[in-house]
């Protein structure tokens, strides 16, 4: 430092002005970096505290019972979160199960096997899908997918797997299955696009090495490329799951909005985000509002837990390598 300053003194070409300015810039830059990080942290902590404060009435009245009560009765002011929690977790879980396969396979195909032109076109379409507003998915789900589920997909599943409790009972058009399908459709683009980018980022020499050792293209993809991007794909899934857990308007339109826990996927359900969207505007009593805010708090905590569990699982999966 002192050397630089001393050098600056001797300099005749104005470097004395440049040097301190460079240092100021570096200082500003680091402040900006730490600042943005801290901002994130502050927003999340602030959000949590705000939700906690907003739900104090409900927390005080119902306590932990709120978590497993199945009552949701605005008239008698009895509130419980279980049906909504169940609907959120189940619909997002099924959506992820359905979307992972399609998303990863499509992404690998686009990056590894598809002809360049086709890959370009398909990628464009997939990115377009990711940009479609969720209300459009919801409308499409309500007017197109729901009738297909109630008259084609539902009866077919019931005929083939009717012995399973999840495929029994009356088939409604708006139900848990329709909601899961819509959510799956909404998160597939995320998984596909990230998988494609991850696979494309693997250097060609890795593939060349594998091929040179006599592996087939399929073996190269399955045994060399995919393991390399496994953690990235896992991250993509977490991102997708986050979107599914918080999705509001599309699920509201196709899930049937019945706060009941039913084994059958053909029965209507309800999600946390949906009930907040549905009832927040007209919730007039303080306890009612507070219960809705506590649902928001629960959704927040669930998202954090799911993310944390995902990271833990990832570490366990990756370590043996």
């Amino acid at each position: 430092m002192s050397g630089a300053a001393a050098g600056g003194l001797e300099d005749r070409f104005g470097h004395t002005r440049v040097r301190p300015r460079g240092r100021l810039a570096a200082w500003l830059f680091s402040v900006a970096l730490y600042g943005s990080c801290f901002l994130f942290f502050a927003v999340i902590v602030g959000l949590f505290l705000e939700l906690l404060w907003g739900s104090r009435l409900s927390l005080g009245k119902f306590g932990l019972r709120f978590l497993w009560s199945t009552q949701w009765n605005p008239v008698t002011q009895q509130f419980g979160a279980l049906p909504f929690l169940y609907g959120t977790v189940v619909s997002s879980g099924i959506a992820l199960l359905l979307a992972v396969w399609v998303g990863v396979l499509a992404g690998v195909y686009l990056a590894e096997f598809a002809p360049r032109q086709l890959s370009f076109m398909l990628s464009l379409l997939i990115e377009l899908l990711a940009a479609v507003p969720s209300v459009v998915y919801g409308l499409w789900g309500l007017f197109v997918l729901a009738p297909i589920v109630s008259s084609w997909i539902g009866p077919a599943l019931q005929a083939a797997f009717g012995f399973l409790p999840i495929f029994q009972g009356t088939i409604y058009g708006v139900n848990m299955l329709t909601a899961s399908l819509i959510l799956a459709l909404m998160i597939v683009p995320t998984i596909t696009a990230i998988t494609r980018d991850l696979v494309a980022a693997i250097p060609p020499r890795v593939r060349e090495a594998s091929l040179a050792l006599g592996a087939s293209r399929w073996e190269t993809t399955y045994k060399v490329v995919l393991p390399l991007v496994r953690s990235g794909i896992f991250g993509a899934c977490m991102l997708a799951l986050g979107r599914a857990l918080g999705e509001t308007i599309a699920t509201t339109m196709v899930i049937g909005n019945r706060p009941a826990i039913s084994a059958s996927l053909f029965a209507p359900g309800y999600t946390v985000a949906s009930v907040i969207a549905n009832e927040f505007t007209e919730a007039t009593t303080n306890l009612y509002l507070s219960a809705l805010i506590e649902l928001g708090l629960i959704l927040f905590v669930v998202s954090i837990l799911v993310n944390g569990a995902g990271r833990l699982l990832l570490q366990l999966l990756v370590r043996p390598q």
């Binding site: 008239v75 339109m253 909005n257």
Partner: protein
């Protein structure tokens, strides 16, 4: 690395800041100076989404002849309307259900509540081969929504509709999933005609629906969509939406034993039977009279008795006076029900209690 640091320093250099800052100042000046160009006073209101189609039409027409006033209405929902009004951020609120004693206590000023328009819920259904006009008694509607009548060929429905070929189909009960004034009117009706409903479910903008076959749709369009695509579905839909979308809907038996369709006239007839409507006695469901449609109710505007700014208050008073009298002529053009003459008088009397010097 070094070159990148240099780039950063150049980006942040004071010379650039000197170049940009006056520009920003100019923009700010330009934005600020356009503001006082027109001297129309902005009156703001917030609340009921149900009122919105009528209000946007009425306030537009009012603005055409009163260039000095512009009414800005935000349809954020009745609950939000009451909150904003109570917090004093808007000049008037609008709610499908008047503020109750608890809500009035939370407002630290005196509130005037005036009926401003009427709404009603029609019973829409989707039965292959069955046309509009299926007959329902009041008890039957309650039993269907309680989940006691489960099939369309139930003797209770067949007895009322001789000659109609009712299919052997399960009834899917559709309701609003979002909190709404229409749900309030509908559950108010059910509570009036069925003691069991009153005891088990009650009256509110969102309730715990007892029928095991019930599904919820968001908004009128959600309920209508579900009814349209679910054979065997029944649902209640707001009058204006019902009329504009040519849905298949039934006749409901009223208190006098007549079967009536939901129309502007039948809902108005129900309202006219109770001219002394007030914010504490406002229910007009299951009204007397041969013409009356039994599932109807008022929507309300909330005003401060003593506006903070008397000059502004005078403008609000003028707008509201017009809205409940002359403005009512516009209602029918958007399929809303105009207030009966006797209720207009009641509303005007209440508006006149506003103290605007």
């Amino acid at each position: 690395m070094a070159s990148r640091a240099a780039q950063t320093s150049r980006l942040l250099s004071a010379r650039h800041a000197r170049l940009y800052l006056p520009g920003l100042g100019l923009i700010a000046f330009a934005v600020g100076s356009t503001h006082p160009a027109r001297a129309a006073t902005q009156i703001t209101g917030a609340g009921s989404t149900f009122d919105y189609p009528l209000f946007s039409k009425a306030f537009y027409v009012y603005g055409q002849s009163h260039r000095d006033v512009a009414v800005n209405y935000q349809s954020i929902g009745s609950g939000g309307g009451i909150q904003q009004f109570t917090a004093g951020t808007v000049d008037f609120g609008a709610s499908d259900v008047p503020m109750n004693a608890e809500e009035l206590a939370r407002a630290h000023f005196d509130v005037l509540q005036i009926p401003v328009t009427l709404g009603g819920a029609g019973i829409a259904y989707n039965l292959p081969g069955v046309a509009k006009g299926l007959k329902f008694t009041r008890e039957l509607v309650a039993d269907i929504y309680l989940g006691k009548v489960k099939k369309w060929n139930d003797p209770a429905i067949a007895a009322l509709n001789p000659g109609v070929k009712l299919p052997n189909m399960p009834i899917t009960v559709v309701h609003r999933s979002d909190g709404s004034g229409t749900t309030y009117i509908f559950t108010d009706f059910l509570s009036h005609v069925s003691p069991e409903w009153k005891e088990k479910v009650g009256t509110a903008k969102s309730v715990q629906w007892p029928a095991p076959s019930s599904v919820g749709g968001k908004g009128n369009e959600g309920v209508a969509g579900l009814v349209r695509q679910t054979p065997g579905a029944i649902g209640y839909v707001e009058l204006a939406y019902l009329l504009q979308n040519e849905m298949t809907y039934g006749q409901i038996q009223n208190r006098s034993g007549q079967y009536v369709y939901p129309t502007i006239d039948t809902i108005r007839a129900a309202a006219a039977t109770k001219p002394d409507v007030s914010s504490t006695n406002f229910s007009i469901v299951d009204a007397e009279g041969a013409e009356s449609y039994p599932i109807s109710g008022y929507s309300w505007v909330l005003l401060r008795e003593q506006p903070r700014d008397p000059a502004r208050g005078a403008l609000v008073k003028a707008v509201m006076t017009w809205l409940v009298s002359k403005g009512q002529d516009l209602a029918a053009s958007v399929d809303y029900v105009p207030l009966p003459a006797n209720v207009q008088e009641t509303a005007l009397k209440t508006i006149n209690e506003m103290k605007v010097s």
